[in-house]
Symmetry: C2
Subunit: 323 residues, 2 copies
Amino acid sequence: MAVYTIVNADEIAAFIDEYDVGEVISFKGIAEGVENSNYLLTTTKNHFILTLYEKRVNENDLPFFLGLMDHLAHKGINCATPIADREGNILKTLCGRPAALISFLDGLSVSRPSVQNCRELGAALAEMHLAVADFKLSRKNDLSIEGWKTLAEECDARADECQKGLRNIIADEMEDLSNHWPTDLPTGIIHADLFPDNVFFLNGKLSGLIDYYFACSDMLVYDVAICLNAWCFEADGAFNVTKAAGLIREYDAIRPLSDSEKNALPLLCRGAALRFMLTRLYDWLNRVEGALVKTKDPLEYLAKLTFHQQVKSAGEYGVDMGI
Amino acid sequence: MAVYTIVNADEIAAFIDEYDVGEVISFKGIAEGVENSNYLLTTTKNHFILTLYEKRVNENDLPFFLGLMDHLAHKGINCATPIADREGNILKTLCGRPAALISFLDGLSVSRPSVQNCRELGAALAEMHLAVADFKLSRKNDLSIEGWKTLAEECDARADECQKGLRNIIADEMEDLSNHWPTDLPTGIIHADLFPDNVFFLNGKLSGLIDYYFACSDMLVYDVAICLNAWCFEADGAFNVTKAAGLIREYDAIRPLSDSEKNALPLLCRGAALRFMLTRLYDWLNRVEGALVKTKDPLEYLAKLTFHQQVKSAGEYGVDMGI
């Protein structure tokens, strides 16, 4: 929720002059994301997002992220797309930071997704997974099993500051997931962070997916597991099986899930819940008192993990097991 | 640089439905100001700023601030204007906070004002001062002599933490200003915070004045003194008399300054410098370590104060004294 690099009027005018997008008439820092500096830029021709990549993003990953967005846009997926300058460059430099001009996507994110929102999300996710099939670049998922192990070790000594017993819960879950994490499911490029704030709707229809800065190579159905965690629990913690069933059914109609993928869902949902619990726990343990960025509650994901641990089959998520 | 109240898609749609401004197609928190929550809102018809007034703003002052913006807009001053809903209300409630929908002003603020920028600022300030002459409401300046005394007392014990000797400098200046502060100069509604980030330019022309949330009743020429402090010092601390002369000359051409007003300028410039030094010092002494909001440097205004203390006549600001 901050702008880290302040860009002044002369700098932005000179930067935009290298593109064929008209002249700047407005330029405002927007409170979106904690990783990068984002500006909403209006020119005489259109609206854009200007992103300056700050130190939390690995510069070496930028060609992958921007290339992915460009690839998806060319495949007709509604997503923010990097704009090329007159010389064809999409990754540029501004105020000493890597920077990209990105197309502006109309729409609003929903804070309380409806069943219909979940259905549309399932369809959009499947379409994205089909569209990335011929994308040439790849990127290791730093936040899969190995990454969780590192996070778990870093949180180990102090995990119980958050909740008594959490240290043991993490250790046990970590061991179990390590022993059973699937290695034979279909892989591809996943979004890996498709929370409601990264999905736009307009007049009740899904209008676009944004924020590809966690995208990576992993099991496609793991992306579904992340979405089940992020979209299908109510504010009171209850799992909404109607939302889950709708999400999965619409996904399955576009990219059919194999039986192996369906059967793996409960375990993958546990993994996804652990992943977000661990990053939130790490941020919570390393939070700065009084800072404006509100740390997200790790215990929300502990509750989700506990739910998934009790799920015996994907049928409990509303998956049609074809039996 | 933050959004304090999170407004969700349903809430904003219901709120905007009470206006005749089209349907919401985009809604983003903007990193502007530290007092309020500001959103950039795009509808099918236009762009707007939606402001939710947070606790640092006194709700009782809102009819004054919004009424002033409305008055200025009707007088043809380029400024952000509150939009009335279908029932004619401009001050509304959203998410439990007072809220107003404000027109969106194109333009960019300059970080390094040019001489020409200063000239245009002088003219726009004078036009604003003429336009407020028949505005019916008034608001006491909480940050004049009495307010400074309070701030000075609150900072007194710890002022030297910022710089050795600062406590005595403040006490001496406070006493001198109290003894000589003018009481017989023309008054009216002043902006009182017309820093470069509150003034927009488009294609080199001044396109609008924003952020009226410090506006109050005070000596009109004190607004000029604030602008001389905020616009006419270079980054290295040097006073640029060409900028000051241009600002004052263009102001004077539209609203002629009396000899008394001109003669009072050095003292008023000292007051304005002390005012911003004190609020910055207070924020600096009460800063939160690690917080994202960067506290502004009080010593920048100590240097400006020291400069003005050495000024013997307004002629040193480039004022034509007509001698």
